[in-house]
């Protein structure tokens, strides 16, 4: 009885895992094939990876796009984690009627579809450009600024703070730390798990962000990876082998961040929070 249940669990998880992984395998296989074979849905690995890569490097400015995407994703992640965790902590630890109201209003922003924001936000940045071109239209800052914090992250940190052991805060205050000290020296190290999860989520959404960079960035020097990939597919005769190669390369950093963070994530779970 127990054994059957066990086997069923393994079978179920194996199927789910296979379904999750299969598209990746296909993507990697396709990056080694010629365009014609990709369109035929070939499942056999080919020998054209290097050729695809060479074509990709020759026809696009891949390094620039990678550097820009990395810059945007790293800065966004650092700022967003710090700002949002501080706010989430603040809203929970210093709860009050008025701050709860502010929090609920902030939550509303989560509900605004980006499609609704894109045109007004662009108009806003067009105004900013007139006074401060360094953070206006067509700068990486313009991509970073609106995503520097999200209601989602604030909510996430506030929710996690609910599980935070309160005596730790008190202990910190007893030791003579001020409030910011308690936050930085006690809360932040203890909440590694939460920060790791938040970092994964933020990095990925920033790396894969498409619509806003598309609208606000113009010059090729400022292009990002998702923009580069969407351009590759836009022709009368797109080369799918090259596109798949670009996608594989674009997926490596997010996968890497996940694998690296995952260790901290697990360590954090085993360790601190008890």
């Amino acid at each position: 009885m127990h054994k059957i249940k066990r086997s069923l669990t393994y079978i179920f998880l194996s199927i789910v895992s296979f379904v999750s992984i299969f598209p990746f395998l296909w993507m990697i296989i396709s990056s080694t094939n010629k365009s014609v074979d990709v369109t035929k849905g070939s499942l056999l690995p080919g020998t054209h990876f290097m050729e695809n890569l060479r074509n990709l490097l020759n026809t696009t400015d891949l390094t620039t796009a990678l550097l820009n995407s990395a810059q945007i994703a790293v800065i966004t992640t650092i700022l967003a984690l710090f700002i949002a965790s501080m706010a989430g902590y603040g809203f929970q630890v210093f709860r009050s009627k008025s701050r709860d109201i502010v929090f609920n209003i902030i939550l509303l922003s989560m509900m605004i579809p980006f499609a609704a924001l894109m045109v007004p936000l662009y108009r806003f940045f067009a105004q900013i450009s007139k006074v401060a071109p360094a953070i206006g239209i067509d700068t990486l800052s313009a991509v970073i600024l609106p995503t520097m914090t999200t209601a989602f992250l604030i909510f996430f940190f506030r929710q996690s703070t609910k599980m935070f052991p309160k005596d730790l805060l008190e202990a910190g205050r007893m030791d003579g730390l001020n409030e910011l000290g308690v936050f930085i020296k006690i809360y932040m190290p203890t909440m590694k798990t939460t920060y790791a999860a938040a970092a994964i989520i933020t990095f990925m959404s920033s790396w894969n962000n498409y619509l806003w960079p598309l609208i606000v960035l113009q010059t090729p020097e400022n292009t990002t990876i998702p923009l580069l990939i969407s351009n590759l597919g836009a022709g009368y005769a797109p080369d799918y082998g090259v596109i798949m190669t670009a996608i594989v390369i674009a997926t490596i950093p997010t996968a890497a961040v996940f694998f690296i963070m995952q260790k901290h994530f697990v360590a954090g779970m085993m360790g601190s929070v008890k």
């Binding site: 509900m111 924001l117 007004p120 914090t149 990939i229």
Partner: protein, 298 residues
Amino acid sequence: MKEKKSGLSLHKTTGLTAWSFIIIAVSIIVLFYFYPMIDALLLSFKSGMGANLQFVGLDNYKRLFTDSTFITAVSNTFFYLIIQVPVMIILALFISVLLNDSNLKGRGFFRTAIFLPCVTSLVAYSIIFKYLFAADGLVNMLLMKLHLIADPIQWLTDPFWAKITIIIAITWRWTGYNMIFYLSALQNIDKSIYEAAKIDGANAPRQFFNITIPMLKPIILFTSITSTIGTLQLFDEVMNITKGGPGNATLSISQYIYNLSFKYNADFGYAATVSYSIVFMIVILAIIQFKVAGDKDA
């Protein structure tokens, strides 16, 4: 600034300190979300081509009710919502409970594998899904080999199946994401609670419903709200996999806004009106969800 009512602090913390923790985040949200939304509100009372916008009062809002494309988009979106969100949350919850068993071998592998779809970009996964679900694609091939179907299913070009394909795609992409939330919350549940329940003779399903679900309630509420919002704002998947078709069978509200802004001859005024209709719907749904689940948090 004289509040210090509930909260965790036993100390006197001045309001100023408390506000200083949240002020940066609040300013950013106000500046980059609420300010543009006010601009959009003003736009929603105007109409016209390109930059020649004229004030039209409530005309745009009246137009919503007679616009059959808008009504189709709304009903499609709710179809996704009602089916996709519960399916995904139950699936994610189920998987995470299975994975939380420390005797399970290969936990790390399963967890990584199931989370992996989250790292893909939308361009990537939409191209892949278009292939897998093509009429002569691998999914149909497999189903026909297994004799589950006799003829290929038109996954992308039949109005009903196209909706199902979108739901499958979103579920594939986001189940692992939600699973991670549940897993980390499960790790925080004290093992001794389960031990005690076992001694009391509670079997696995009873443990699940009596301990796991109540303990995870805040996080389930959180994920169901974010998923609901995500589905109501659904854009990338539909745009990339079916482009809203066949006909308008898979069109989502966000995609309709995009079409009104950029695909058709731009009418930013009416696009803003449609945007406000989603905000309105989401606010109502969020209130319902909070009421149903109760926000008297732990």
